[in-house]
């Protein structure tokens, strides 16, 4: 009880940092009249012909104001139905009732999305995450109606103490206006909370494998999601730094102390992500066996995050390809990440040696050494970068431009690869190029869930190649089809066709 009060105090203290809280306060200041005006709904007393429609409309209205991306809104709109709840048309007679119920339910839902983010104070070090009472809050959410009521009371008290007012926090209302068979209610309500919290952490999860878990497993799982999210946030902040201290602002490459902090964060991530059985992000599946990531895989992951940070920096601050030194440095970091990781893993002072490794990369980039990355390795690096960002694309918005950018890089890597083997391939070089492009295209399409369009790839590729040639001929750029350009033309035709398919489906 005492502990719950402490955690509640922390959460309320952190609320001011949250955008969602600002959205919530705005809604509490407005009454239903405002909603009516917004949605253009008429008089009070009319009996609604279709209460379910009105109910959903109001819910959508509120959620749209709180969340920006369509995917989240759609998820939150549908999740009660997926779990088994239905809009309770019998209990809603008037429009006013429908609006009230929808408002209460949507606001409770926003609270559930908000709580995981404010549960841990941002000044807490990652190694202390486990002592912040995340489990206590998760238990209160999931155990029973009574535990939720208790949480409501304590939170309201705490909010009242800050002068916000009572009756503000009511997560029990989340299914207001919904009904479900009493037999299933306890279990399904629990799953509903779990899924919304998982969504709030922005980590991918397998919806179907959540349902069979029992109460203890769900509490354990949910806690792991929340702490992993905070650890990941801490990692990002550790790399990005804050306004007064940016440890990786080129030409800075961190310090031993910075890396010590990052490695501690990675340990927390490793410990808690290993507990998540419904998330595929931090584990490998080999021959049907799921293995959580090892420490070296986390270090590899971290190096790639740092490389991505530098890439972003290069793009935003210098313009792509404008800072040659940084460009080469990133190539070193990405191309030799496995070697760096294995050297770091052998030492006892990992943070020190990480700093040494990055400094060494910087030194080599500075003296103009070119990275000795074989085309095969580069191809692998590029394709794994693409794979990673496409997987991210499922949870966050990734711009079409960026995808096309990456497709272009990938097909560039193919050119290098072919050039290396051109002599030994002899007359088979065309066939080899086509086959490699075909396979690569298939991987891209497959990663985006567009594998079924593989059958269309050959004719679109042919179409692009024909039209492109036609443009050249009619503009007078070429008078004959040169054999020396064949490889380049094959590769770019495939790149064009994949771009079409990918962009057209988005």
């Amino acid at each position: 009880m005492r502990e719950l009060e402490n955690v509640a105090r922390t959460m309320v203290g952190n609320l001011h940092q949250s955008y969602l809280y600002r959205v919530l306060t705005e809604w509490y200041e407005q009454d239903t009249i405002q909603i009516r005006e917004d949605l253009g709904i008429g008089s009070y007393s009319e009996t609604v012909t279709n209460p379910a429609d009105l109910y959903e409309k109001v819910r959508k209205h509120i959620l749209t104001k709180a969340f920006q991306d369509d995917e989240t809104i759609e998820f939150l709109m549908n999740i009660p139905q997926w779990v088994g709840f239905r809009v309770d048309v019998d209990s809603i007679d008037t429009g006013e009732q429908a609006i009230q119920a929808a408002r209460q339910s949507a606001l409770a839902l926003i609270w559930v999305m908000l709580i995981p983010r404010v549960i841990i104070d941002h000044i807490v070090l990652p190694e202390d995450f486990e002592n912040q009472g995340v489990d206590i809050i998760v238990e209160s959410f999931l155990q029973s109606d009574e535990s939720r009521k208790q949480l409501d009371t304590i939170m309201s008290l705490e909010l009242d103490r800050r002068g916000v007012g009572t009756g503000f926090f009511n997560i029990s209302d989340i299914v207001m206006g919904y009904e479900i068979d009493d037999m299933m209610k306890i279990e399904r309500l629990r799953v509903l909370f779990v899924l919304i919290i998982m969504k709030a952490t922005e980590l991918p999860f397998d919806l179907d494998s959540v349902f069979p878990l029992d109460e203890a497993a769900l509490i354990n799982e949910t806690e792991a999601y929340i702490i992993t999210m905070h650890a990941q946030k801490a990692l990002n902040n550790g790399i990005k730094g804050n306004s007064s201290n940016r440890p990786f602002a080129w030409p800075l490459v961190g310090t031993a102390r910075v890396f010590a902090g990052i490695i501690n964060t990675l340990h927390v991530m490793k410990k808690y992500s290993a507990r998540m059985s419904t998330c595929s992000l931090f584990s490998n599946t080999i021959e049907g066996q799921t293995q959580p990531w090892t420490e070296s895989e986390f270090i590899l992951f971290m190096l790639n995050e740092i490389a991505d940070y530098y890439t972003e920096l290069l793009r935003s601050r210098f313009g792509k390809g404008k800072n040659e030194e940084l460009n080469v440095f990133i190539d070193f970091l990405k191309g030799e990440d496995i070697e760096i990781t294995s050297r770091v893993m052998e030492t006892s002072d990992k943070s020190g040696s990480l700093h040494e490794e990055l400094s060494e990369c910087k030194r080599r980039a500075r003296i103009g050494e070119k990275p000795q990355i074989s085309p095969e390795r580069r191809f692998k690096v590029v394709i794994s970068t693409l794979k990673q960002s496409l997987e991210d694309a499922q949870s966050s918005e990734i711009s079409s431009e960026e995808i096309v950018d990456q497709i272009a890089t990938l097909f560039d890597a193919i050119s290098d690869l072919i050039r290396k083997y051109q002599d030994s391939l002899g007359s088979e070089v065309d066939k080899f190029t086509e086959e490699l492009c075909f396979e690569t295209s298939f991987r891209i399409l497959d990663l985006l869930g567009l594998g079924v369009y593989l059958g269309d790839l050959p004719w679109i590729t042919r179409f692009i190649a024909e039209e492109s040639t036609m443009i050249d001929i009619s503009s007078g750029a070429i008078t004959e089809l040169r054999n020396s350009q064949r490889i380049k033309r094959i590769i770019s035709a495939f790149a064009g066709a994949v771009s079409f398919l990918v962009l057209q489906m988005r």
Binding site: S400, V404, D405, I407, A408, F411, Y421, L425, S427, E428, D430, K431, F432, E434, E435, L436, F438, E439, Y453, L454, G455, D456, L457, P458, W459, I460, T461, R462, F463, I464, A465, E466, E467, S468, T469, M470, I471, S474, L481, R486, R489, I490, S492, A493, F494, A495, G496, A497, V498, S499, F500, L501, L503, Q504
Partner: protein, 372 residues
């Protein structure tokens, strides 16, 4: 004879590479005949009626297919030790002139010089016995026009070979490269650059050009960040969905060029067998057109007894091809050979076109039906 469903005959295109200058075949076929592409394994050597003895006199003969590749073309043919006796068939031609005349009647007239005696038959049998090639052939019968040979053929045969190079499997044939060209409607660009769906006719073929996309966008080549093909792909994606792109494809000028050649060819030569097939195999990696004779078909006229395909000019191709059998899916499922399938397909096309072979009528036949 096989009576197929009317609508299963289609324009079919077979693509070898994505580049415009490379071979491209377009034709009329029925992909249901083999439910897709016919695949074959050569069965054991088949014996024609007059090839009685398989234990030939020659062993260790060199397959002529290899001869061109090997530099030592002068390698002597290894003969087994055989007593030369009265019954030695190898020399029978020398002594028994009567047999010669008898056998000469079994083959129809060949063009050019040919040696026709019993010993050659033994030689061939022996070669066939030693021809251990077990390669798969993909077979698509139907009237096809070949872009690089600029001629029409009765069927397309592609030997399926696979090679491993640097961890990639290079296949000589991909099923994705054979596809029905479902021409329904075409598309043309109006003055605002928007696509407009049009009925495909001889006049509207080739009415689509992607050129204007890059021109009208007002970007100079320097601004194009990625290679032009990606730029083209992304511009097309802003305007067309996949099905609409297919219309643009159908109305593109390169389809027009090829399709018109096919239509011209049909209009001019009608639907009689071309007596040519397109073969791509290890010996001819870029494809070749082989003159053929259909002995079963000819024999209707000259009352012969042999059947099966023969290639007078390319004896080793004939040896490979005549052993191939395919399981046909249309009608009664039975085994058929190359000749049988070609004759079936020609028959189907003849029925479908009802004797109308003008360009408009043929094009109409294969587009109108789909759109209505």
């Amino acid at each position: 004879m096989v009576e197929g469903k009317k609508n299963s005959l289609k324009f079919v295109e077979i693509q070898e590479s994505v580049l415009p200058e490379d071979e491209w075949l377009i034709g009329i076929s029925n992909l249901k005949y083999f439910s897709g592409v016919g695949y074959s394994m050569p069965s054991a050597v088949r014996f024609d009626g007059n090839l009685l003895r398989q234990d030939g006199l020659l062993t260790g003969g060199i397959i002529t297919a290899d001869l061109l590749q090997s530099s030592n073309i002068d390698d002597s043919i290894e003969l087994t030790q055989n007593e030369i006796g009265k019954d030695d068939r190898l020399f029978s031609g020398t002594y028994k002139h009567k047999e010669d005349t008898l056998l000469a009647s079994g083959t129809t007239a060949n063009e050019g010089p040919s040696i026709d005696n019993v010993d050659q038959e033994f030689l061939i049998t022996s070669m066939a016995t030693n021809d251990e090639s077990k390669n798969l052939y993909a077979f698509i019968p139907g009237i096809f026009y070949c872009s690089s040979q600029q001629t029409s053929v009765d069927a397309v045969l592609i030997e399926v070979t696979q090679k491993k190079r640097f961890g990639m499997t290079l296949s000589s044939f991909r099923p994705e490269d054979v596809r029905p060209l479902d021409l329904t409607r075409g598309m043309t660009l109006d003055e605002n650059g928007y696509g407009k769906s049009v009925q495909l006719t001889v006049d509207t073929l080739g009415s689509f050009h992607a050129e204007s996309f890059l021109k009208d966008s007002g970007i100079s080549p320097d601004d194009v960040e990625y290679c032009r093909e990606i730029e083209l792909g992304s511009r097309l994606s802003q305007l067309f969905t996949l099905p609409v792109l297919k219309q643009a494809y159908a109305a593109s000028s390169f389809i027009q060029t090829r399709l018109m050649k096919l239509l011209d060819d049909i209009e001019f030569f009608g639907l009689l067998p071309r007596r040519r097939i397109y073969v791509r195999n290890e010996k001819h990696p870029y494809g070749t057109v082989v003159e053929t004779e259909y002995r079963g078909f000819e024999n209707i006229l000259n009352l012969g007894t042999q059947s099966g395909i023969s290639c007078p000019g390319e004896i080793d191709i004939e040896l490979q091809l005549k052993t191939l059998t395919f399981s046909k899916m249309l009608g009664a499922s039975t085994e058929t050979d190359i000749e049988g399938a070609i004759m079936d397909l020609l028959h189907l096309i003849t029925i479908e076109l009802e004797g109308k072979t003008s360009k408009d009528e043929v094009l109409d036949k294969f587009t109108m039906r789909l759109s209505s």
